[in-house]
């Protein structure tokens, strides 16, 4: 019974947060563009309807199976992330003692599905986007591994449930101040946004999704927002204490914190400039990775 309720609640939250993210995106864009927006809350729905009513195009000799699997896989990975997150003490959909590692596996599979999305149309711009994403998607995963291990030290466990419980006195965002910023960079990359949007970037006229039309375009955009939700929920649990909070019920706290992280990610994605991929690859290895070492050392010293 409780499982059914949890699943239904999760779905309601998922749909609401996809809609909220799309709206936030439009509002943020309109604010920066300085022109305002017209009914940002309805535009996502209308655009979705438009994409559904367009023809679905394929290219010459496309890899149809992988095109399907990439969208379905991206969608599923976002959902797995969401299902790993505890919504109350000892309540998760996927109860795994190594859920931090499972989230890492999701991250690495995201690289695979984004690559497949760019590979399957057999088109040059999409292909360049796919390869470029791998160059960034692989090394940036290391940041999250160090950061998550640092969060696991005080909890003495790789279980997200224990990590949330260990934050009952003080949130990890205070314990390891470098952790959340580094983790959000990973989130930008996982959701193909802003300064880490190397797959679907403007200099490739849309990159891996340049050839996507109609329902495929809709599917890919929804999957991106599902991944944004999944990532934000994980970040909220690891750094902001997840469901912990006074007065309000736990799931509501989790939803609020998830939306907060989501807002930050969306805001950053519109505000920060994207550098050429070679420069970013160097920056991750030479600049950000040592920072994550430092984060781990600080967390390690603190935990003892």
């Amino acid at each position: 019974m409780i499982v059914v309720l949890a699943i239904l609640g999760l779905f309601a939250f998922l749909i609401a947060s996809i809609w909220a993210a799309a709206t936030l995106d439009a509002v943020c864009r309109g604010w920066i563009a300085g022109g305002g927006t017209v009914s940002p809350a309805f535009t996502p729905l209308r655009t979705a309807a438009l994409w559904l009513s367009q023809q679905r195009l394929t290219t010459e000799a496309p890899d149809r199976l992988n095109a399907l699997l990439s969208i379905a896989g991206y969608f599923a990975l976002g959902l797995v992330g969401l299902a790993l997150v505890p919504i109350g003490p000892d309540t998760t959909l996927i109860a795994l003692p190594t859920s931090v590692v499972a989230w890492g596996a999701c991250e690495s599979l995201v690289v695979v599905v984004v690559f497949l999305h760019g590979w399957s149309p057999n088109a040059p711009l999409a292909l360049i986007g796919a390869y470029r994403y791998v160059a960034i998607g692989l090394p940036i995963m290391l940041l999250s591994m160090f950061v998550l291990i640092a969060a696991a030290l005080p909890a003495q466990s790789l279980d997200l449930r224990d990590i949330v419980t260990s934050q009952s006195s003080v949130w990890n965002v205070i314990r390891q101040p470098l952790g959340l910023p580094l983790f959000i960079l990973l989130g930008l990359s996982l959701t193909l946004r802003g300064p880490f949007d190397y797959a679907d970037s403007a200099d490739l006229a849309g990159g891996t999704s340049v050839e996507a039309s109609g329902p495929d375009r809709l599917g890919w955009q929804i999957a991106r927002l599902v991944m944004l939700t999944g990532f934000s929920a994980v970040a909220a649990s690891v750094f902001l204490g997840g469901y912990l909070g006074p007065v309000l019920p736990g799931p509501l706290w989790l939803a609020i914190k998830t939306l907060a992280i989501m807002t930050v990610v969306i805001g950053l994605s519109h505000l920060l400039a994207r550098m050429p991929v070679a420069r970013m690859m160097g920056l991750i290895w030479i600049g950000l990775l040592p920072l994550s070492f430092l984060d781990l050392i600080l967390a390690g010293v603190l935990a003892l």
């Binding site: 920066i32 022109g35 209308r46 010459e60 949007d197 006229a205 519109h270 550098m275």
Partner: protein, 340 residues
């Protein structure tokens, strides 16, 4: 599914712009209209907006572009000229309101009052392939033939790390949203790096949207929109550009011209709105500027040049690529047999 169509008809109109010569100045500001969504890829568009005069040399490109839109689709000609394949298109002249025309066409299209336009080009692959070869796949051997209508790529030398892998040659443009209007390049790529470049068509004269494109290339599409407002002293705009670290994102020394300016300094000049004199006449060719650069860097270089300089650079011919093409082709065929 009429309710879907009704809902869809109220979405921002997805327009792909094919810009010709002497297009109206208002074209760049079309993106500021919240009822219009200027899209990056023809795959996402419903309406192909042809604006300005399309030179006859680019007519084939326009036809190809038109056919890449998914159904339902329509063409709108804005201050353009009559073209034979687009006899059914909606024509809009200087006195009409373009946004209204686009919205009306879009609504008609989704309501079914306006039939979706048929293909211009014949429904045939670039090369005949069906039924050819032992598996009917259009090829024999591992690299021969034209499987699925196109030949396979051939290996070529690499100028950076010496791994001779397949080179990809194609005409990019003239209607790519990240290229200056009219520019079409024949690029040979090894991976995402530019190996050889020739100008297939130079950019049109009088293009002024370089700043907006450069900001979009840096992933700042919302800021690019803001830059279109064109208020000279928009302090917020400059503050936001500084906040975005766009300057630091551009590699130093990229695309340096003999007058000492590089992409970074030219970007600075664009953002502060300083009118710099067109770069002094150089004898550089586009090949000198682009060969060896990664795709994103190359696009930054192209879009950092002002219109006059870019036209000058494009006008100078590169040394013709050595004519080994036939030789490699013969070699390639030999291999196809060899492996058959």
């Amino acid at each position: 599914m009429s309710w879907i169509s009704r809902l869809a008809a109220r979405a921002p109109v997805p327009v792909f712009i094919a810009q010709g010569e002497s297009a109206p100045d208002a074209l760049a500001r079309l993106a500021l209209n919240p009822a219009i969504h200027v899209v990056d890829s023809p795959r996402a568009a419903c309406i192909l907006l042809i604006s300005g005069r399309i030179p006859s040399a680019l007519a084939d490109c326009l036809n190809r572009l038109h056919d890449q839109l998914p159904h339902p689709r329509a063409t709108v000609l804005w201050q353009s000229h009559a073209m034979e394949p687009f006899s059914n298109a909606v024509e809009v002249d200087a006195s009409d309101d373009i946004a209204n025309a686009l919205s009306a066409t879009f609504a008609d299209l989704l309501a079914g009052d306006r039939p979706s336009e048929a293909d211009i080009l014949p429904d045939a692959p670039p090369n005949e392939w069906r039924g050819i070869g032992p598996h009917g796949q259009g090829g024999k051997g591992m690299m021969g033939g034209t499987p699925y209508g196109r030949p396979m790529a051939k290996t070529d030398d690499d100028i950076r790390d010496g791994l001779s892998l397949d080179a990809y040659t194609a005409d990019f443009g003239p209607f790519l949203p990240m290229f200056p209007a009219g520019l079409a390049l024949t690029l040979t790529l090894q991976g995402d790096m530019i190996q050889a470049v020739t100008v297939a068509h130079p950019p049109f004269e009088g293009d002024t949207a370089a700043r907006e494109r450069l900001l979009r290339l840096l992933g700042l599409s919302a800021l690019a929109l803001r830059s279109l407002h064109g208020q000279k002293g928009d302090g917020t705009f400059r503050r936001l550009v500084r906040l975005s670290r766009a300057r630091a994102a551009i590699p130093a020394d990229l695309g340096r011209l003999p007058d000492g300016s590089d992409v970074r300094s030219r970007f600075d000049a664009m953002v502060t709105g300083l009118q710099t004199a067109p770069a002094s006449d150089t004898d550089m060719t586009l090949g000198d500027l682009l060969v060896g650069l990664e795709w994103h860097e190359a696009l930054l270089v192209i879009n950092s040049l002002d219109n006059a300089t870019l036209r000058g650079v494009c006008a100078r011919m590169d040394a013709p690529p050595d004519s080994t093409n036939d030789a490699t082709h013969a070699d390639h065929d030999m291999h196809a047999e060899h492996m058959g």
